[in-house]
Point group: C2
Chain length 403, copies 2
C-alpha cells in the first residue's frame, strides 16, 4: 500500500535534478515548429550526482547518431547530463554525426562539469547538426535552473502542447520518492515506439536491474501500443534517470507509478496525434492467441480506412470487420462481435445496422474518446492498442513539414 | 514472334462475348458514386458458349458472399454469365448473402438462358443486396449488347474514370486472338489485391491449366504490386473468361499480352488512387533476398510519411531511408544509395542534400510519374512496387464515403 500524489508541473519536482532550455535560433520556420510561442530549441536535464540510466531506443535499423553515441559508453555507465535539441534529428549522418556530438559535448564540458554526457535529437533527417549554433546555447543556459515547462516545450516539433507529468509516492513507512517525465511526439507514431523522446527522472533508490526491467514493461504497455501513422522513426528514445537521492524505494509502488506516468504521457502523444481529434481504444478479445489479438488490434489502429471513418464519424463497422479479416488472424465472421462502447453493432444474428442503432453509434463516435471492442469468439487472448483519426490536417502537416 | 495491336475500347472486341449495363437506382448519393454522369449500377458479361474460368480472390479471411457463391461450383466449372453490381459489396452478410445471390440468379435464369452464372459486387460492406431492385435490371438489360464503355462505367465506385483495354495478337502463322479487360478500383488498394474487380475475356484457345498459371503470374506482377492505402477489401476479384472461339493460341504471346494488359489496368487504378496525383515506382535492388526487397518496396509504397512527402513534393529522402530502416530488412546506411529517377540523392559519401541537388530533386518530384530507386548494396535481389501520393482528397473521399 502506498499513497500516490499527482504534482503540479514536471521534472522540477525531483530532488537533485535541474533542467532548462534556451533559444539558439533553429526554429527558422515558425509554421512547423510547434505553437508560435515556443522560444526554445536546445534543452538539458542535469543531475547533481551521476545517475544510473536505462534507455530503450527505436527498432529502426537506421538509429540516429545520438543513439549510436549513447551506445559507445560502457554497459551500466552513469551520466549526469542529457542535452536535447529540436529541428535536426542528426539521423543518417553516419560517423560524422557521432563526431559532431563529441565536439558539442566537449565544448559543454569546458562550461559545466559533466560526467558521461549524452544527447538526444529530434527533427529533420539527413542534415548535420549546426555545431557552433548548438554550442552557443552553453553561453545562455542556466545549469542551475529547474524549468520543466520550458524544457518540455523546447523539445516539441509538430506537437501542439507540452507533455509533462510528476507523481510523488508516499510509502506506508512514511518514506517517499518522486517520479517525473516529459516527452514529445505527435507524428510518425507507431507500435514500435515512434518519433518520440521521453525522459523520466526519479530520486527513488531503485536498483539498476529494476530500472531495466520496469522501463521495458512500462514502455510495452504504453508507447508501444499507440499508433498515429504506423511509421517508425530513427530517433525514438525512452530514458529513465535515477539519482537515488531520496534513499527510498518500493518496487510495486514504483512500477505502478511509472506505468501510470508513461501511459498518460503516451495518451498525451496520441491526443496530440498530428491533426487528430479523437482517441480510440481498439480492444480485441476472444482471440486464439495474444499474437493474434495484438496483430488485429494493431491493424485497426493503423488502418487508413478505419482512421478516415473515425474522422468522418461514420459508423461503418464494415471497415472494422474488413480490417480484422485482412490482418491474417484466425477469425470467423459468424463468431465475431463488434461493439462501439457498450453498443453492439455487429454479430452473426445482427448483421445489418438499423437506423436507430446507427444513430446511437454516431452519438458514440462524436465523442472525443471511445472504445471499439472486437470479440473474435475463438479463444481467451486479448490486446488493446490506441489510435486516432486521420484528418485533412495530418496531410497538411506532413506535406508541409519541411518546407 | 507475334504482332500486338492495341484496339479501341474494351470487351466488345472479343468474339462471342456480350456486355452491358443498366440503372436500377442504387446510386442514390451522386457524391460518392463516381463521376456525376454514371448512370449504370448493374452490369453483365455474357458469352455465347460456356467459358472456362480462372479467378483469384482477396486474401481477406472475410471473403464476400459472391466469392463464397463462386466457390460452391465444382472445380473447373464453366460459366457463361457474370452479373456485377455497384454500391453494395454483399460482404459480411453471411449465409443469407449467398442465398440472396441464388435468388437473383434464379430470376435471371427465367429471363435469359444461363449456365452456372456467377456474381461480383463492390460497394459498402454490411448490407444485404436489394434483391428486387437488382432483379429489376433483367427487364431492361439487353443481353445481346456489346457496350464495354457502359459496363466499365457501371462497376465504378470512387473511380473517377472507367478502365478498359483490348489487344489483338497476330501470330506468325496468320492466326490471331483477342484479349480484353475492364476493371474498377481506386481506394483500399493494397499489396494483397484490394477492392478491385477485374474481368478479362479472351477468344484464345487457351487450356484451363495455362489460364490458372498465367492469371496468377500476371496478377502477381500487376495488381499485387500496387498500393493506394494498404487496406485489403473483402471483394477483390480478378477473373479470366475464355470461350476459345478463335481456335488460336500461343502461350508466350498470350502470357506477354495478359501481363501487359493487367499491368496497364493496375497502373490505371493507381493513377485513379483516391485523391492521388502522382504515380511512383519504388524500385528496391541490391537486397539480400527477394523477400527483403519486396518488404522494403512495399513498406515504401504504404508509408503515410512517404506518401504525404510525395504530395508535398518535398525531396525529403530522410523519410525514404527511415522507412527502409523501419521495414526490418537487412540494411546498412553506409551501403545504401537512393536515386530519384537518375539523380543520386543519398549515399554514404554524400549524405547531405545541397541546394542545387534539392532543386533538381524537386523538379523530378513535380512530374506525374517518377521512380525512387533504393540500392541496399548487400546482394542481388530486387523488387518494384507502385504507389501514389496521399492528398487531402483521399481523406475527404474516405471520411465522406458512406454519408
Amino acid at each position: 500500500m502506498y499513497k500516490l500524489i499527482a504534482l503540479e508541473n514536471g521534472l522540477e519536482n525531483v530532488q537533485g535534478f535541474f533542467c532548462g532550455a534556451t533559444n539558439v535560433g533553429m526554429r527558422t520556420n515558425p509554421a512547423n515548429s510547434g505553437p508560435s510561442d515556443v522560444d526554445g530549441d536546445v534543452a538539458f536535464i542535469r543531475s547533481e550526482i551521476p545517475c544510473d540510466v536505462s534507455a530503450l531506443f527505436t527498432s529502426n535499423t537506421f538509429q540516429a547518431a545520438p543513439i549510436g553515441h549513447f551506445k559507445r559508453y560502457p554497459k551500466d555507465f552513469k551520466t549526469d547530463f542529457v542535452l536535447i535539441n529540436a529541428k535536426n534529428a542528426n539521423a543518417m549522418t553516419g560517423e560524422r554525426g557521432i563526431e559532431d556530438i563529441d565536439t558539442i559535448l566537449s565544448t559543454l564540458s569546458s562550461k559545466c562539469s559533466v560526467t558521461n554526457p549524452v544527447m538526444a535529437s529530434t527533427g529533420v533527417i539527413g542534415y548535420r547538426l549546426p555545431i557552433d549554433r548548438i554550442a552557443s546555447a552553453f553561453d545562455t543556459l542556466d545549469f542551475s535552473s529547474k524549468d520543466s515547462h520550458k524544457t518540455a516545450r523546447a523539445i516539441m516539433t509538430t506537437d501542439s502542447f507540452k507533455k509533462e507529468l510528476a507523481y510523488k509516492v508516499e510509502l506506508q513507512n512514511g518514506e517517499s520518492f518522486t517520479i517525473a517525465g516529459i516527452c514529445k511526439g505527435a507524428g510518425m507514431i507507431n507500435p514500435a515506439m515512434a518519433t518520440m523522446l521521453c525522459f523520466v527522472t526519479t530520486d527513488a533508490d531503485i536498483p539498476k536491474s529494476d530500472m531495466d526491467e520496469l522501463l521495458t514493461l512500462s514502455t510495452e504497455a504504453s508507447f508501444n501500443r499507440i499508433s498515429v501513422d504506423g511509421d517508425t522513426s530513427t530517433n525514438d528514445t525512452v530514458m529513465l534517470l535515477a539519482n537515488k537521492k531520496s534513499g527510498n524505494y518500493n518496487k510495486e509502488a514504483f512500477s505502478d507509478t511509472m506505468n501510470k506516468l508513461l501511459f498518460e504521457l503516451a495518451m498525451m502523444i496520441l491526443k496530440d496525434g498530428e491533426g487528430a481529434n479523437k482517441l480510440v481504444a481498439f480492444e480485441v478479445k476472444g482471440a486464439k492467441s495474444e499474437e493474434d489479438a495484438k496483430k488485429a488490434s494493431m491493424a485497426l489502429s493503423n488502418s487508413l480506412l478505419v482512421k478516415t471513418a473515425l474522422f468522418g464519424e461514420d459508423p461503418n463497422w464494415g471497415r472494422i470487420a474488413s480490417t480484422i479479416g485482412a490482418s491474417g488472424i484466425d477469425c470467423d465472421d459468424s463468431r465475431l462481435t463488434i461493439h462501439y462502447d457498450d453498443l453492439l453493432i455487429y454479430s452473426d444474428a445482427f448483421r445489418e445496422l438499423d437506423q436507430a442503432r446507427e444513430k446511437k453509434a454516431y452519438e458514440i463516435m462524436k465523442q472525443e474518446q471511445f472504445t471499439v471492442t472486437c470479440n473474435i469468439g475463438l479463444g481467451e487472448a486479448s490486446y488493446t492498442s490506441y489510435g486516432c483519426d486521420l484528418s485533412y490536417e495530418y496531410v497538411k502537416i506532413n506535406a508541409e513539414y519541411r518546407t
